[in-house]
């Protein structure tokens, strides 16, 4: 089912959590809300779930207006960052909760609930843990139970708040892949919140990048990576080095090297350029480019990762796929950028 938010505004006292946010998740899409803490991504998710209500704006789920509709009438599956499992219930009772609390008329029979719970335990690969209590499970298992509980009520959409936030790196990776599989199997429109750009780019069909309560860009991971719409997006996606440059007629000049811009057009004058570590080659001292001193050099197989320092003390990270011999700390070199994305200063 599709989800549409139009012109959503939310303030908490003097603090603006969301200022005029609009987005659309298409039927069956896996959408990521990506941004630093305080960007408003969790608030937006909670508004979609009906756990917060917007000051202005419209939420449509499957074309239906959600105004004034409380969380319990929205049929939205919500997975909480800290799992929020009912601590005094067994895993099976947790999963069956949404069915058990239905009014008498629409409540499935006890046996039917048990069957459904067993089915979901199978889906989340925890078939033998139905009688355990949440405190007896690992973080990854709890997250799976939380997902099973949300799926039990046959929600129309699935919302996940930092689903892997509290897990260690290895479990995170496994669970990430598994969640994508579950999504592909159920075909549920899903929206998840994360502050981890790798997670968003790896998992989502499209990524919504947010900052300070505004949407900076909505795009596929490829488009986001190739054409970041703003300096914030480029910076937040990570790894890019920030350099000062001059723009004239759409050409960017960095230390005498002139390159076409890989970002939206901008006015002539001083600009901030972003260059990714692999977008450099080395040249001898005195040639055009950015003169640097090598601080550290780490060789891994055929690659080399350099940490270099410019005359102003700025650090530039460089990755070379075919590094020359003799790169030692203290050596002076010139970095020649091969591509650049420039934004207004």
């Amino acid at each position: 089912m599709s989800v549409t938010a139009t012109g959503v505004i939310k303030t908490f006292g003097d603090y603006t959590a969301l200022s005029n946010v609009s987005l659309e998740a298409r039927e069956g899409e896996f959408l990521a809300l990506l941004g630093p803490s305080g960007s408003g991504k969790t608030t937006l998710l909670r508004i979609l779930a009906g756990l917060e209500f917007p000051d202005a704006g419209q939420i449509l789920i499957g074309g239906e207006d959600m105004a004034g509709r409380p969380a319990r009438d929205r049929r939205v599956g919500f997975v909480f960052q800290q799992y929020a499992l009912f601590r005094h219930m067994t895993v099976a009772d947790n999963i069956g909760f949404g069915l058990t609390v239905r009014p008498r008329g629409s409540r499935p029979a006890t046996r039917e609930i048990a069957r459904r719970v067993a089915e979901l335990l199978e889906l989340v690969q925890l078939p033998d843990l139905g009688r355990r209590y949440p405190a007896q499970l690992s973080g990854g298992q709890r997250q799976r139970v939380a997902l099973a509980r949300a799926l039990a009520v046959e929600p129309r959409i699935l919302l996940l708040d930092e689903p892997f936030g509290a897990l260690d790196a290895k479990v995170r990776k496994d669970l990430r892949r598994w969640l994508r599989e579950v999504h592909d199997r159920t075909g549920l429109t899903s929206i998840f919140v994360t502050h981890d750009q790798d997670e968003a780019l790896d998992l989502a069909d499209r990524v919504v990048v947010m900052d300070h309560g505004c949407i900076e860009q909505i795009d596929t991971p490829e488009a986001l990576w190739d054409r970041p719409a703003s300096a914030f997006v480029c910076d937040f996606l990570g790894g890019a080095n920030r350099v000062a440059a001059i723009a004239s007629d759409g050409i960017i000049d960095v230390g005498g090297i002139r390159l076409p811009n890989h970002a939206p057009a901008l006015q002539d004058g001083p600009v901030t350029g972003f260059i990714r570590p692999h977008e450099f080659s080395l040249a001898a001292p005195g040639s055009p480019g950015i003169p640097v001193t090598i601080r550290r050099c780490l060789r891994t197989g055929a690659q080399a990762a350099l940490e270099t320092e410019t005359h102003d003390g700025a650090i530039i990270e460089v990755t070379l796929s075919e590094p020359p011999a003799g790169l030692v700390p203290g050596l002076t070199q010139v970095l020649v950028p091969t591509a650049i994305r420039a934004y207004p200063v």
């Binding site: 319990r72 919500f78 009912f86 609390v101």
Partner: protein, 280 residues
Amino acid sequence: MSVPAATAEPRWVRWLLIAVALGFLALNLALPLAAVFVEAFRKGVAAYVAAIRDPDALSALRLTLTVAAIAVPLNIVIGLAASWAIAKFDFRFKPFLVTLIDLPFSVSPVVSGLVYVLVFGMQGWFGEWLRDNDLQVIFAVPGLVLATIFITFPFVARELLPLMEEQGRDEEEAALSLGASGLSTFWHVTLPNVRWGLLYGVLLCNARAMGEFGAVSVVSGHIRGKTNTMPLHIEILYNEYNFAAAFAVASLLAGLALVTLVLKSALEWRFAGQLAGRGH
């Protein structure tokens, strides 16, 4: 040689600490408690039984139990409502409400009693109206109940508040998003999560409700056989130099308190696993 743990103190320090704590408890708690029972039986079992079977004593016992039976359930409801509101919702006068809950602890019980006399007494604000409608609050059971509710209000709320605040709202929100109504969320999620804190608060509340003296003394009027609760009855007997009877009734009151404590320990032992949050 084994390496001592970082927190291991020398043996004599540990023994000293234990001795100080035990000595203090023996001197200030065990000894007086024992004295109550010793004094109660000083004039023999027959005198003890007679003192207890005295109609005024029985009436005091009945009244004490009645007041507790009304005040404690009401405080459970009000305490639950207050702590639920404070822990799970945001509203403007929250800090004010939290302070208000502590008020009965900070005000002298005598003052709390006097306040009720001022409001509901014959010369009080509602005095005339109450007289016209043939209702008596002060020097009657309703006054005793009101004063007891006031004094014992913080026990349940104070016990539940930190617990509910620590547990947060996530589980309630999860229940709502799963389609549960507000009432069934409370019944299936909120209440079971705080049941041990609630039980503890209720036991403390009950112990104090039965033992309250100051506020109750002001509103009671000390009418023998009518508005005397056990603590008040004990004071009267004591002031009449009827020590054996005074201690006999006192031993009964102390007995009620001990039963409460034993009950609590028994429940803690029986459900130790759940208390530790491990489920079984």
